[in-house]
């Protein structure tokens, strides 16, 4: 086994900041404070679904940034 192969594991995150960001986004997706929401947008899209849509695009952006930083 070469030195490079031995050094592959364990993999490591660049910083705890990213863990915090992904946990925060997951908690925000719960949207528990508006659980009983009945509001809709455009007559057909529940507001809480719109909230989830936005969060997923934020997640996509966060992942894109993360890929720039984390290069094991």
């Amino acid at each position: 086994m070469t030195g490079t192969e031995r050094e592959l594991r364990p993999f490591r995150l660049p910083s705890l900041r990213w863990t915090g960001i992904f946990v925060l986004l997951t908690l925000l997706s719960l949207d528990i404070w508006a659980w009983d929401s009945k509001a809709v947008i455009g007559g057909w899209l529940p507001v809480w679904v719109f909230h989830l849509l936005v969060l997923q695009f934020v997640l996509a952006f966060a992942l894109w940034r993360f890929t720039q930083e984390w290069k094991p």
Partner: protein, 480 residues
């Protein structure tokens, strides 16, 4: 032209297209074990993303997803979407390490990596056994879904089981020829069809029902509960599914194996952020269809509601268009089933046959192709009379596979991991899966165990605790 002939004409075109793409891919590849199982590790970023998505989104995405949305309403979007977007994080944090280890050490299957990194053949076999046992029922969902489509489209004219046999036969031809390379490139055709035709279905049905605003207004008046989470789902169940998808999806052997095929880690990085870019919009389509089905057909039984997409199309579109759109469901079936067959064949070839015999590489190549045929027959046999609706069949497999998540993460990310603790973790987890399944059939899973969460959550949690505590204790013993 009779309805059956129209469906057959559309079907023939699609199957001929799949065979052509599969044949072309085979011609460009090499007849080697490495090319057959991991496409010589040369798949580019965009193609990798497409094959990951097409493989993940199965017949369940086209049929069961809309069926569940019909029953539960918009809350089903919440149960599926954010968690599936988080799969992008798994692609990055598991996929990149798996790719790097696979390339450095020549791994072709998931259990090979587990065996190689833990140094325990027993753990590798256990891991492989779990993958095969829980992928078989999942595999049965695919031909079952295809059968539902064909029966609905032809009003029973084409027997679903025989249609599934035909589709499986075509799939076998291109997988037999080109293995992973054919699977990946047919995924592009099938994924594109699935996406384009699902969006067409939404537009056609919405137009037929009077437009988005009218549908929403009518639904809000007749079925207001379909818009609300309260009463439909609890936050515990919601969180459970959000956490379950990023843990279980990379454990599907057909997804795990695809981490090996990337041409570089850039391919996986790209797929990671593309996943949550596409999923949010893509998942709106089957939910919209399912929820809207309540307007025309408010009293469907649970099993019938899994056919809500073909039912709606037959109501609101000409037959030729309905047949065309539902080809997307057939594409979804084939894009997942061919990958499952290949992944399981590779496990049985490499982790069982090659580990206990002296098979040369060309013999493994030949055995792998025959195993694809044998596994397809087993899958069809299971699909002949599936035990419950699509979602229930698949849900048993999900928890069983998710038990492997703590072991996979620990081996990649934690240097104190001990193989004995991994074995204990998996055995405990699978015992709990069996127990919760039996309890659900009887008086129900006790509340003290789930605390309101999906049963997979306490099972994965306990598996992780056993792995961590066991590794720390065994680590201490070895130091003294």
């Amino acid at each position: 032209m009779s309805p059956t002939l129209i469906v057959l004409a559309v079907l023939t075109l699609y199957l001929a297209g799949s065979l052509w793409v599969g044949w072309r891919s085979w011609r460009q590849g090499a007849a080697t074990l490495d090319d057959y199982f991991v496409a010589s590790r040369r798949i580019s970023p965009l193609v990798l993303f497409c094959t990951l998505a097409a493989t993940n989104f199965s017949a369940f995405f086209f049929l069961g997803f809309a069926g569940a949305s019909y029953r539960l309403g918009w809350p089903f979007y919440g149960l599926m979407a954010f968690g599936t977007s988080l799969v992008g994080l798994s692609i990055l944090l598991l996929g990149v390490p798996i790719y790097k280890l696979g390339k450095a050490k020549g791994y072709l299957t998931p259990p090979e990596l587990i065996t190689g990194e833990s140094g325990s053949q027993m753990l590798g076999w256990l891991y492989g056994a779990v993958l095969v046992i829980f992928t078989l029922p999942y595999l049965a969902v695919q031909p079952y879904g295809a059968g539902l489509v064909l029966e609905s489209l032809t009003d029973g004219g084409i027997d679903g089981f025989h249609g599934a046999v035909l589709l499986t036969g075509v799939m076998l031809i291109y997988i037999w020829l080109g293995g992973m390379r054919s699977s990946v490139w047919t995924d592009l055709l099938q994924g594109g069809l699935m996406l384009g035709l699902m969006l067409t279905a939404v537009l056609v049905v919405m137009q037929g029902l009077g437009g988005f605003g009218t549908v929403g207004g009518d639904l809000a008046a007749a079925h207001p509960q379909k818009f609300m989470r309260e009463g439909a789902v609890t936050w515990q169940v919601w969180l459970s599914y959000t956490l379950l998808w990023p843990m279980v999806v990379p454990m599907f052997p057909q997804l795990f194996s695809r981490f090996y095929i990337a041409e570089s880690d850039k391919a996986l990085r790209t797929a990671a952020w593309l996943y949550p870019t596409i999923v949010p919009l893509l998942f709106l389509a089957p939910v919209l269809l399912g929820v809207s089905g309540n307007l025309d057909f408010p009293e469907l039984a649970k099993a019938e509601s899994d056919s809500i997409v073909p039912i709606l199309l037959l109501e609101h579109a000409p037959l030729w268009l309905a047949a065309l759109v539902m080809t997307g469901a057939l594409a979804a079936f084939m894009s997942t089933a061919d990958s499952q067959l290949l992944a399981m064949s590779s496990i049985l070839t490499r982790d069982i046959a090659a580990s206990i015999t002296e098979l040369k590489e060309d013999e493994q190549y030949s055995l792998g192709r025959w195993l694809v045929v044998a596994l397809a027959i087993v899958g069809l046999a299971l699909a002949y009379d599936p035990p419950d609706t699509i979602f229930n069949v698949v849900s048993q497999a999900f928890t069983g596979l998710a038990v492997l998540f703590p072991t996979t993460v620990a081996l990649l990310w934690w240097r104190h991991t001990r193989s004995e603790a991994c074995i204990a973790s998996i055995l405990t987890g699978e015992t709990l899966v069996a127990w919760t399944y039996l309890a659900a059939q009887g008086g129900g899973i006790p509340e003290w165990f789930t605390q309101g969460f999906h049963p997979s959550m306490p099972i994965i949690f306990l598996s992780a605790v056993i792995l961590i505590v066991g590794s720390l204790l065994l680590g201490k013993d070895s130091e003294t």
